[in-house]
Amino acid sequence: MEMVPQFIINSIIAGSLYALVALGFNFIYGATKFFNLAHGAIIIIGGYTVYFFSKILGWPAIPSIIIGILFAGLIGYLSERFIYRKLRARKSSHMIMLVSSLGILTALQAILTILFTNRFQTLNKLENVNTTFNFFGGKITEVQIFMFLATIIIMIGIVILLRFTFFGKEVKAIDDDEEVAKTVGINTNYIIGIVFFIGSATAGLAGIFQGYDIGLEPTMGMSLLLKGVIASIIGGVGNVYGGVLGAFLLGFVENFGIWKISGEWKDAIAFGLLIVFLIIRPSGIFKK
């Protein structure tokens, strides 16, 4: 059974990626209570920004990555500032916001395809090819270790932000009731803008890791988003720990699932898991 350590590592790798997506998504959902589908495009925007700077312009990796994260955050912020905020001001229903985020996702994905074609791109250059480490009988690369660490750090960071800072209290207030928060004097638009920025930046980081670990394609965003959403729902939407736990659970089920079931059913397994959870425990593992 010497496959098992590798399976475990593979599950953790997949889980980390999904967790990064879920973290950003959950953070935004927590404050605005709507499923931002455009999140999927922002993941890929982060990756492609790094591609543009590091491969097309030839900049070194670190500055490209920083710009990638910031740019993804910016796009998220702009979509909130110019579209979602207007809709919220009119008390639009969540479904209207969902559909508009769907529109943004569709358009952004297509624009990325026009700019970068549908060709699969990796962010790696031979000089910084992923070094591999042995770990209890399985292999893991540098990039994958960073991805895992980033997940943990961001998760803890968000928890600290929400629990121990004034900002976090303001976010919680908005989450409870936006109207009341306004009357108490909280600048809800400003806070929500920052939430979108942070959540989207995290999404961008996920895309960047994806680019270094495997590669990028404009249409990947949607499927990564769906995995993140499944993870969030299983773990408990809006709950920071929940999204991460759900993500790792999903990673495990997907990877161990193909042990016995043929690999083509991977997506169906993921959604099947979602539906099973929704039937048995719709609020997810952790309540909000």
């Binding site: 943004i104 569709t106 358009a107 297509a110 026009i114 979602l274 039937i279």
Partner: protein, 288 residues
């Protein structure tokens, strides 16, 4: 002229799809994103019965419709626990599962290779070989579906559906079995989508899973949102517009390498613009 007939046939296939989805989304307020799954079931069942078992078109079509309805009933049972965003997400999931099955159950569906050589419908020895005769057939079906839907919409059942959309809890308090109504309309509209699927299969004479993916469900949703929620004539207008849109884009003559993506950008922009400036759609009466 031949080409106009072709476009007209496509239009008459999308009318039942749009009108039926509008009953679910516009009248009942359920944001279903799995309509393409029923479209696909109708197409595949009709096809397999015709090709493998030698059924005639009309019996095969009816069985296809019934199976689509049965599947919808089962999905509906699970979906009935959810509202709004969750409803949309789980329906997403169902679409993906059905698509996955169509793609991977190769022994049955031939997977990505698709099934070709689907014969045209026959009745009392007359074969609908010419496209013009097929157009008459599909228009007849479209008309029937429209009339049935219109009848439902203006009946007391229709009023109940609108009531569910506006305030389901109140209706339940008054003793109405809202779950049963939702299941009924969901299954009924699925049979209509199945009808469109059977027609599609015999017209194009070739089907493969890619025509029944999530993108298709989103396309049908765009049609009804554009045309107007809870307005069936609006859905017809929406279908007309979106079938003709690619042709107009052909006229405009985008550079050959970005035409398809520009369509997607336009769909996305339409969605966002509609949500921002006219959420009821062109002729609708109700906001999502």
């Amino acid at each position: 002229m031949e080409y106009l007939i072709h476009l007209a046939i496509l239009f008459s296939i999308y009318v039942p799809l749009a009108v039926s989805l509008n009953l679910v989304v516009g009248y009942t307020g359920l944001l279903s994103l799995t309509h393409a799954a029923f479209y696909g079931i109708g197409a595949y069942v009709t096809t397999l019965l015709m090709i493998n078992l030698g059924f005639g078109f009309f019996p095969a079509l009816i069985i296809g419709m019934i199976l689509a309805g049965v599947l919808a009933f089962l999905f509906g049972l699970v979906l009935s626990r959810f509202r709004d965003d969750y409803y949309a997400l789980v329906s997403f999931g169902f679409n993906i599962i059905v698509y996955s099955i169509l793609l991977n159950w190769i022994k049955l569906t031939n997977g990505a290779l698709g099934i070709s050589g689907i014969p045209r419908p026959q009745i009392f020895g007359f074969v609908f070989n010419s496209n013009f005769s097929f157009l008459l057939l599909s228009l007849a079906f479209a008309l029937i579906v429209y009339l049935v839907s219109s009848y439902i919409a203006h009946s007391s059942f229709g009023r109940l559906l609108k009531g569910i959309r506006e305030d389901e809890k109140v209706l339940a308090v008054f003793g109405y079995n809202t779950t049963l109504f939702k299941l009924t309309i969901f299954s009924l509209t699925a049979t209509m989508a199945g009808l469109a699927g059977g027609l599609f299969a015999t017209y194009i004479a070739f089907i493969d899973p890619s025509s029944f993916s999530l993108n298709e469900s989103i396309f049908i949703l765009v049609i009804i949102i554009l045309g107007g929620m809870a307005n069936l004539r609006g859905s017809i207008a929406g279908a007309l517009f979106l079938i003709l849109l690619p042709e107009i884009l052909r006229l405009v003559g985008f550079p050959v390498d970005i035409a398809a993506q520009m369509r997607q950008v336009i769909y996305g922009v339409i969605l966002v613009a509609l949500m921002l400036y006219r959420p009821v759609g062109l002729m609708g009466e109700y906001k999502l």
